[in-house]
Symmetry: D2
Subunit: 358 residues, 4 copies
């Protein structure tokens, strides 16, 4: 057993824009875990750090009676919450591009619930689409639509404005539907003008979660339940679904740090700034985008041969082809994204384009 962990090296010389969870945790979070490591605390999320983090968040959203729970990951949070909120015959409405519909391996259905899909508009749901779903679900031969699921920011990197969220929530309330917001990448939207703040989010939905994993945490998502009817016995649901950590403090400490000295918002600003730099550089070179975004996801349309060139130095997801010569790719920035690699990306993009035109 001569193996030593120190031998661990960057497994890949390429720089990755593949996602916002390629690195570990923001250093301040690791630091907080280190400082508190030898203290003894209660298990299963009943520790003092989780309590402090919850107080901090309740104060930020100006809601003293919200219920706050810390779960491990996004798929788990969505599925556990829906299992708790919905009766067996009730369904959740989502755009077809929604994370629960595409990328959670059927976790919601595994809980027994149908995901009713409707076409998206730039990744967002519209009231018209929800209304059509309600119109055709009329009796007990069909599932009963009971929840609207949206992501802020969306899977296509767009975000709901404050007005859009307000209107959606009003519609949901009028139609006896829960509004649930998947905030895996919430931080990116919280720091933009015209988009809902954490307090506004909390006023405009029945429950939402504040993403940790994609916002600099090692693990962890923070579920905030606003609607009183959804609160009872939620810890039973968590335990049953394997969503309750013995060392729950690991998440509590990280969220406490994220909401100390505005770190969560600073991370949001950084990743948006890095994405803006990418967007500006790409647009300057005359390329367009599959969808216009202002958050930490960028979807440029590029010639296939240039994509091949870029892949020599960078890893990223090639989403789909646009036509026989062009495809669109996804670039994601994070708390850890370094400006120098963006400059390098733009440089190679520029150079590849020139090489081609000559």
């Amino acid at each position: 057993m001569g193996y030593s962990i120190q031998e661990g090296k960057r497994e890949n010389v390429m720089y990755s824009f593949t996602n916002d969870y390629s690195e570990g945790a923001h250093p301040l979070l690791l630091d907080a875990l280190l400082k508190t490591n030898l203290e003894q605390t209660e298990g299963y999320g009943l520790d003092i750090y989780s309590a402090k983090a919850s107080s901090q968040i309740k104060s930020l959203i100006k809601n003293a009676t919200a219920d706050i729970h810390y779960l491990v990951g996004g798929t788990q949070t969505n599925a556990t919450f829906m299992a708790a909120a919905l009766r067996p015959y009730q369904a959740v409405i989502s755009v077809d591009t929604g994370h629960i519909n595409v990328h959670e391996a059927g976790a919601v259905e595994a809980m027994g619930h149908k995901v009713i899909t409707c076409p998206h508009k730039d990744g967002k749901i519209t009231i018209e689409r929800i209304r059509e779903v309600i119109r055709v679900h009329i009796d007990e031969h069909m599932v009963q639509p009971k929840m609207v699921y949206i992501s802020q920011t969306t899977e296509l990197g767009t975000a709901y404005t404050t007005n859009e969220i307000k209107q959606l929530y009003t519609y949901c309330q009028e139609n006896d539907l829960y509004l649930f917001i998947d905030g895996a990448r919430l931080g990116s939207a919280l720091v933009m003008e015209g988009y809902p703040s954490l307090e506004q989010i909390a006023r405009c939905c029945d429950a939402f979660y504040i993403g940790g994993t994609k916002m600099g945490a090692l693990i962890g998502e923070c579920l905030v339940i606003i609607n009183d009817t959804l609160k009872p016995d939620f810890r039973y649901h968590m335990k049953q679904r394997g969503a309750m950590l013995a060392k729950g403090r690991v998440i509590g400490i990280q969220f406490l740090t994220l909401f100390t000295n505005n770190l969560y918002f600073e991370i949001g600003k950084h990743q948006n700034l890095m994405a803006d730099t990418l967007r500006y550089g790409i647009a300057q070179l005359g390329y367009t985008f599959y969808v216009e975004t202002n958050t930490n996801q960028v979807f440029p349309i590029l010639p296939n041969h240039i994509i091949t060139k870029l892949q020599e130095a960078f890893s990223f997801i090639v989403m789909d082809s646009i036509d026989s010569d062009n495809s669109y790719i996804r670039l994601v920035t994070s708390w850890a994204t370094k400006r120098e690699y963006i400059d390098k990306f733009i440089y190679i993009l520029k150079k590849s384009g020139k090489d081609t035109s000559s």
Copy 2:
């Protein structure tokens, strides 16, 4: 937001023998997370560290074709594995004291499977009890018993000897039953003479998991699938059940560290030694035990008034009353247990006894 995480203090002046997950992680594990923190890796357990940890473990068990997966917690690991291994009408046999039967909030049933219980013998299952279950489950009006679940070490702190495990596995093979071993506290048994080594465990079951959370990790359990028929598509099950971490490396790095330089075994030895010291001290004072154990859980029977006295300085679980004057308690040691607190515990126990007798 003047709050600072540095204000975080020991929430409790009492020393806790409540469980083996009161502290954070073994310092070497945190150190490894720190050293690798800024590296970019593949997500969802496909990183180089998880791969190295798996190689290490496969080498230890001398089984190059085992499938190894890293899940977050014990309840999740048990439930996800059973959902993958069992068809809807199949059931798992467990002693009534089994973790899946008592302390997982019905997670196995939430996956649709019955837990058939039988009485335990010092926390262990016997072949006679399994045989009786098989005898009475005869047709499609009943569930079909298909798996035997045991814990090593058991919920009562006992452990199966090498012979017992071998006989159990032989019986299971002869009767078309899977044998699954919950190793949440496996480390404690691995280091004892006459008890199965990691390699022997791997030879005597269809699947088992190597506990991380209760053995010094922040989070994480390592599932080892031996039986080829149980291997296909397991990652689909993990994803669907919310058991696949985006930053999967967090668990991989910790298990790589645990299985570097024998750390996992050293932790097992330490916690057993601390428990032995407790056992010896308590026995010396003339007290007996609810069940005889040689692992990191100790169950002394003590007079209620002495328990009250001990609770002024220590936290631990009072299990149940034995008679009107006496109860039995549970003391658990861990990688972090300090000798000085054991001495203090014995000192108070001795002093309380004298006070009483006078």
Copy 3:
């Protein structure tokens, strides 16, 4: 295709005491199906006959607001009702001999719910056993007991007295538990002195079902929901679980007939009388019973060689061995049981005994 159904013959020359569903339907029920066969009605239980049957039953139980639904079979009724009444983490308490625990292939667990078992007393549950279950289920690491399931009559042929049911229900109400009564063989208990009438049953539980299949119907069970909180949207549950018949009238017409001119009670009396005749004849010959019953199930203990003799002319279930020479069997009577076969059974039993003693 020269085959003709008229060739269908008694598949077996032996007379069967195996169960109470060996024949088709009581002739009056078939007659009612025939008379109404060509009428057009609404589907899915919304027909006029189902409505009339429900009115009749509501009038009998003197409860105008009960919700009444017609389901196809017992396992389906139990599982569908429990899926509707329980939240995912809630469990049902049953004696170990309970039908849901033994003979429904894990249908309740397939709905996600644990069946917590406790030892029975002559097939019945006791308040002491329920109290012990409540005592040990204390937090979210365990399932939450929320329902008590009993069968009237029980799987061992006994029945709860009026007092026993009243006390059970009072205990359940005080402890926030639903009481659900599986009435697959309810008719047998309804006609006995000292045992609850249909009206008393309806006053002493949250829901119950009136068995049809074992009481002379081709198919069908009638679920009566008393507790208002369990009523909403139950038809959604039925449809989702495949428990809603397109030709729902098939069950409605049969229950209307069963509750016209006291037919249901007459059937109960007949099957009890037949069973009494068996019991008397067997006891007269000096044999004892595994459990004392007064309903349509009889469990005599007989020498194995006599059982073999009886099996030449009768089919019945040999339950289990009592010792190396004796076993206990189950004899079940029904609406169709004929006196002559009982006489024949006693005759052979008497003759076999003599042959032996000589």
Copy 4:
């Protein structure tokens, strides 16, 4: 309790074209139930009549090793089969108009499986649409498509030709997909030139069910499993899902009768003939159809004021509006449909049209 069932009258003076389950059973089926009523048989589908029906069907499909099971209704049959055939992470592909997607209250999802939908072409699925589903489901973050579900005839009254079914099955086999055929209204397609016979159906899928309820039975669907890998332990699934009747013979006897003297096919012919008569009459009056059909469902587009007129004498489903003045309706014929009511319908339609044009 002076109520007498004989008072039961046609609840409705209108004639119903609403569906094909408005009446009871075909008289020959009731007759067979009556003739066998007092015989004692084995329970749970193990009776001699079910066995004979299965022999008959195996002979018809020229497949001696098919497994045949009798379930109660269509939703139950679909959901039970899918629960048996699919692993938890596997999904079924259906057109958006598929019965499992719209009209089964989420029964498939309640079993834990996603229904992946694709747009239909006249109610039918196309290989191109399936291919696109396969193309985008690439890894364990998504469900795994494993089954294609089609209905013969479809929910829009169309039917797959022999060639279409053959091509579909070939594609499914090449892509490791099961093909399952919901034959709730199979009889209508079996008797048409150019459409697959029962034997051809059985050669071109992994499993299918022969509808009973909508083809003249009181209750019951006959599931035929062709693919050997889907056969083991299916009775466990049936029992667990409440799909196994105690008096299983009730279904067996009906299917034996349906497949004696070609009754099933005669019923198919009758309902098609009645529908053809409707189609011809409606077309003669110059009206068009929402979708062209040749089976027992007819979807004419009619002016709203004429629909109102027709509703005075007939009940049927108004599907949806076509424009502000016109809607399309559904007319369904069955074994019981009488020519005189079709003539009356056409007469009123003709008269209403004239009244309007004047």
